[in-house]
Symmetry: C2
Subunit: 364 residues, 2 copies
């Protein structure tokens, strides 16, 4: 954990930036003095609700791998810093899901729980996203842990895993909580033209709420700060359902569409991918659940780059994450360079377990 000097430096930089971008919020020198006194006394300090909201939004704006940043200033920030016990955290995660789901009109939301304090690490959420399925190979570890804790389940396809909350201190083991049905909106997948597609039994959830990243603002770390946007179709159609180490559905889709899988050269994988992605967009549309296609989201991202440029701000960007995994060169984001990512930029979302060099860049 950073010492008081580092905390104060980071806090000062953040407060200055907060004041610069929020004219009329008072003299930053006064606020810095206040923060300095808190840091000297407690080794940490408390963000105002306005600072927290601004910090979370700028963390999104700074997310070099996120194509969805055009709406960074419209993030709903739920200030739950007073919630510290596992039961309360679970309850507020469910509320987060309900609020974000919004009957299908998905809202970008972050819920910020208590930060780490000197000698007192905060509770965390185990797993990658609030909602995950037990038969997703990516969740094997969480399934194992849930079962060790006594969870009975994971026998049927697309079973929603319980939430796992790791208390912050005292060596206590995680608690598990079944996610209430009314907190998880799901979409069964059908195809716009192939009636047999439904029989594949595929489905996905509406709200991708990432919970394995810490929110870092001005020297303060919020390790439990789940956030969500809406889905971009390729995340489900290309990656979650298509990747060979995920649901690996391309062979089944190819069989359904009668594609010739005898050779790579028939482009059966490419065709199956398009059908799978078409099914995802179609099904979410039918269900009235917000989802973006990768063409639209690419156009929006370039609008974001332009708008930020008008404000004189760089847009740190990781090309390999921004370019969609389907039809890369058919999207406008493919054909240009961007400002390079800066790992030291803050506020930021930071992976709690830093990816090791040889894992997939898209599974970090």
């Amino acid at each position: 954990p950073p010492g008081p000097g580092a905390v104060l430096d980071a806090a000062t930089a953040f407060i200055r930036n907060f004041a610069a971008e929020n004219p009329g919020t008072g003299d930053p020198r006064r606020r810095i003095a206040e923060v300095a006194a808190q840091v000297q006394r407690y080794g940490t300090y408390e963000h105002t609700p306005e600072e927290l909201a601004f910090g979370a939004r700028v963390a999104w704006r700074n997310a070099a791998r996120c194509i969805g940043r055009l709406y960074w200033n419209n993030l709903t920030v739920r200030d739950m810093r007073h919630v510290q016990d596992p039961d309360g955290i679970a309850e507020q995660c469910f509320e987060h899901l309900r609020f974000a789901t919004n009957g299908g009109r998905v809202r970008p939301v972050i819920t910020v729980f208590a930060p780490d304090r000197p000698g007192r690490p905060a509770p965390t959420l185990l797993g990658e996203q609030l909602v995950r399925y037990a038969d997703d190979p990516r969740s094997a570890h969480r399934v194992e842990l849930a079962k060790e804790l006594g969870w009975k389940g994971g026998e049927t396809p697309f079973e929603v895993l319980p939430l796992l909350v790791q208390p912050g201190s005292g060596g206590r083991s995680p608690e598990f909580y079944e996610i209430p049905e009314d907190a998880v909106l799901e979409v069964p997948l059908t195809h716009p033209r192939h009636p047999g597609f439904a029989a594949l039994g595929l489905r996905w959830y509406a709200v991708p709420a990432v919970c394995d990243m810490s929110l870092e603002i001005g020297g303060i770390t919020y390790p439990a700060a789940p956030f969500n946007g809406w889905y971009m179709g390729t995340e489900i159609g290309s990656r979650n359902l298509g990747d060979t180490d995920r649901y690996d559905m391309l062979p089944a889709v190819a069989a359904l569409f009668g594609l010739d899988t005898g050779s790579d050269r028939t482009l059966w994988r490419d065709r199956a991918l398009v059908e799978l992605n078409a099914a995802v967009l179609h099904s979410y549309d039918q269900a009235g659940v917000t989802i973006a296609d990768h063409h639209t989201e690419s156009t929006r991202f370039l609008a974001h780059v332009e708008r930020e440029g008008k404000h004189g701000r760089p847009v740190p960007t990781d090309w390999s994450w921004i370019v969609p995994p389907l039809s890369g060169s058919a999207t406008a984001v493919f054909h240009r360079y961007y400002d390079p990512p800066d790992p030291d930029l803050r506020p930021a979302f930071v992976h709690r377990t830093p990816p090791t060099a040889l894992t997939c860049p898209h599974h970090a």
Copy 2:
């Protein structure tokens, strides 16, 4: 141009590497002394044919943006360093094309013309590739230049541009040469299932011979050193024919296949891309012309990375160029990190006009 000190340093490093990778070729110290004497006297030195061939192959091996490197050691190196006059250069470029075409069984070939010498820049080839079409928007500059030089043509679709040779010195203007028909194999594009596709009138050539990069080996620059492999289908189907600033064929293909272009969400671009790519692979296969699909070439590249690893050699790699522009995540190369590119690595192919920051990373 590098001074004698820089040339000798680069030469020494190269000769040492040549000796290390080619046991039994004699004592590198003796060769280095010989080279040093040449450099001291002339400011440059002459590669042996073996050094030249090795240098060209290693330049390919070092090409961080090339997915086709598995066969780096099978490059045919045509030593044409004695050819200096425009007529001779043009003639040998045509011979290059004939040899590389090989009746359709495309062979990877490089032809190395005279190097730059102190105060005597060598002739160069203008344009990106030996074969280019006049109605390709990327060739607008070459078309203009050819017409200024007196070329009559460029009125019909897919007309092959003349070769433009820029003499090395004396402020002489470029010479232009019509490429003989027997040097350019072309493939008219048809679709495996849609008979109407042929009516689009699309075609492409067999041999992509890049001529806008210099070959740099051990301190010597060969500015005219056209090289080719075989095509990977996406270069034609996704980029040359699909990009909006190239032939921009997705709308026409979509119309042909009756796709609903009313919304991005129908994925009509993605479907049209797959059909266009399928047509390319199918047509080259039908014509008996070598072409790789992106799935196969991805698998080969990973075999290359593994084999190089066994030799203890890094494989500098530019992820954004290696991952194919179609169905990125459905190829194995997508899902991992690589050794970073090293712009100082030599031998290397180097763009003669360095790309500026805001051009497309894929049009450098």
